[in-house]
Subunit: 444 residues, 2 copies
């Protein structure tokens, strides 16, 4: 194998293929990137960790075709630090890289030991705008569960029903859902879950794709292949049934408020510093007449804070409503919405709160569970002239509900809830935030 | 205490005072910043970790004078996230902070428990341009020893002799020295060592000072006070005798080369990837006739690299010289030189190499010890057509010399070397890079 190539072109395909390389490969060959040069002037780079394979191509001046497997990090670092035209010449397993101020020799693995690309059988084909797929990943990946003991929740679940598609993720306390319409119709419902780690890498590739690119998706029994111009991302699917989350989302809402997203996020951040010891709980009082949302936090022996943001209520109710929420979950949800305005929908203080973008590329929804606040809060507002009393605030007790508990009230979601709860109990260590609250209160 | 202040002014003094706060204070009061408001409209912020105290002032509209000690991180985070005019009102130990969209109440410590500023007795006064002091710190701080068992080496040593001053640091393998001239003359020689941690914080403050600022230094028995307009940095001094490093620096050089700094750094970085298993050793061949420096690295079973940079020799020798050096030390030294060109001076391959800036604000010198290379290297250059042979390179042995060993040859530095070596043996764990080389070679 011998070829000449511009540094920028080689660096680009290496960077893409490198996304699939594991930092600690289980087999030494998986620490390599496979480079293949064809006589028609196409050079490909492939990286894999067996769960995820990324294959990408570019053009070069190929003198002699061939293939070589070279240490991924070493090769990428080296190429990123040279400039101009580069020559690659392979003899046996060593590759001499010549650039304008020197050269280096890398000893690689055996290219015939490199795993071949997995091929799915009888794939179903789906086409989706690359930018819409990217928006779906941005809108769901952050709600996947990091805990690998509940493997199916580490992925994003996709469903297709006739011409409707949706992507969803949940960790039991927060839930994200993105929906859209396809150009084609499918007679049988399709349901599959893709590992979050694979989708995170796909997301990086999609973020660099052109606005008009279409992603061709081939779904097989055990694998999914996302094809973009010059790049293929092939991932294993996750096995196991994904919780039926659609029935966990309330269908009607008594309250609806429109807020400016960045202003809400800033106000949450300001009060967050005085909520640290209490699991970052904020009490939000939605004041209909004053058309503002007032945010209260407090931390025993440290202090308390109040802040407010303007809002537009669109609701038939005239009574104010007050809901306790986890600030970190709220801020995280707002970060993954890209529109200037958001819509907040809720019912009772014990039921899920829904946040949606106002407009945007896709229908997007973020569901977060409330935290019950029994007393306290609002100190700084009511007692600013009575600081002596408030230096010894009474402890306020909180109970964090999870999605399964809260939706026990609702009538149409019992079977789905049971499946979610059943998975919860198999986890070994409980993820119930209620129990953590109690433990922390006991040790405080 | 009650005052109104612009957010930017308050944020600035808090950020400065916060530099002295320990992340894990030994006493809860040390986690606070002390704010003092005077009726003449001056507000000060003070932070301390007992070794280092930072006191800084600004102006505000003070309605009622007073003082308050508030949690440093909480206060700084809160003020950094509000905008516009802020009101601070203190009642007992609680401070109500009111801003344009809300307020918060912070409960602080007892201001009378806050340590008072340390005062030195009979101080010696030295004045130095803030920018020159900053350049001296930039040029020496990176060579201080991180290992606290040899406490005096964790600091930068300063010496004043009549009107000459110098700052120096060393960890036994590399050494940095910066010298300059004072406006005043001092009859007795002055010698003191300031903790590197204190100077790192001072360096941050100096980097924001005006080009014309003068730093007034008051040196006492146990403390040093650096005064800049509005800010005082007071540090404890380090006890113990600092090694007499001036005699470790060769006075004459057989070779002298001028190189472009960034080009040299880039070439070192490119070959560094193929030197990883061998303690990042580069062999540099200074080719007088070809007016270039050729850099060789190699890593057993991984590969090797060669690169070159142009140079201007200024030396009476006609023979090339080849020296082994640690790439990381070289790159680190080059990063702390700000001029476009550098001068490299050396004698034999076993003696220290000196790197100096070409021009610059101060006289600056970086000394790095060579690494002995017995065989190997230069493979990619000589054997690019014989890759079969070179896939099994013979191991090359290296010995890293430390400053004390190498300068044993020289005639005038014996006592100083002994003091450095004596300190070395008290360290508990050896810092000799030779012994580490052997250990790593044995396990490889």
């Amino acid at each position: 194998m011998k070829l000449n190539i511009e540094q920028a072109k080689l660096a680009e395909i290496l960077e893409t293929a490198y996304l699939a390389i594991s930092p600690k490969p289980t087999d030494p060959i998986l620490g390599n990137i496979l480079l293949i040069a064809n006589e028609d002037g196409i050079v490909s780079a492939t990286g894999t960790n067996l769960n995820l394979t990324i294959h990408t191509t570019t053009t070069a001046n190929v003198e002699t075709s061939g293939q070589v497997a070279l240490p991924a990090k070493l090769l990428t670092d080296t190429i990123n630090n040279v400039r101009g035209e580069i020559t690659l010449e392979v003899e046996n397993q060593a590759c001499i890289i010549t650039h304008n101020s020197g050269k280096c020799r890398l000893i690689g693995g055996k290219p015939d030991e490199f795993p071949t690309l997995p091929k799915g059988e009888n794939p179903i084909e789906v086409n989706l705008s690359a930018k819409k797929l990217q928006a779906a990943l941005e809108g769901t990946l952050y709600c996947t569960n990091g805990d690998e003991t509940k493997l199916v929740l580490t992925g994003v679940n996709f469903k297709i029903d006739t011409n409707k598609w949706q992507a969803a993720s949940t960790n039991g306390h927060k839930l994200a859902l993105v929906t859209g319409i396809l150009d084609s119709e499918y007679s049988d419902p399709i349901d599959f879950t893709v590992p979050g780690k694979s989708l995170s890498e796909l997301n990086k590739i999609l973020s660099q794709s052109a606005d008009t690119s279409v992603c061709n998706i081939l779904l097989s029994n055990k694998t999914i292949e996302f094809s973009l111009p010059h790049t293929k991302v092939i991932s294993r699917l996750l096995e196991g049934e994904y919780p039926k989350i659609n029935s966990l989302i309330p269908r009607t809402f008594e309250y609806e408020f429109t807020l400016e997203r960045k202003g809400f996020e800033s106000a949450l951040k300001r009060v967050s510093y005085l909520a640290e010891r209490k699991q970052k709980v904020v009490k939000i009082l939605w004041e209909l007449e004053a058309t503002q949302a007032t945010l209260y936090t407090e931390a025993t022996d440290i202090g308390d804070a109040v802040d407010s943001v303007l809002m537009k209520p669109a609701t038939s109710h005239s009574e104010n409503i007050s809901i306790g929420l986890n600030i970190d979950y709220l801020i995280e949800g707002l970060k993954h919405i890209s529109t200037d305005e958001i819509v907040v929908r809720c019912n009772k203080p014990t039921q899920p709160v829904i946040i949606c973008p106002m407009g945007g590329l896709l229908n997007q929804l973020y569901l977060v569970m409330p935290v019950e606040i029994k007393q306290g809060f609002e100190k700084v507002n009511n007692q600013s002239t009575k600081t002596e009393a408030s230096t010894q605030p009474e402890p306020s007790t909180e109970e964090v509900t999870d999605i399964a508990q809260a939706t026990n009230d609702s009538d149409n979601s019992e079977t789905e809830i049971q499946s979610l709860v059943a998975k919860d109990t198999t986890k070994g260590k409980s993820t119930s935030r209620s129990s953590r609250t109690k433990k922390e209160a006991a040790t405080a």
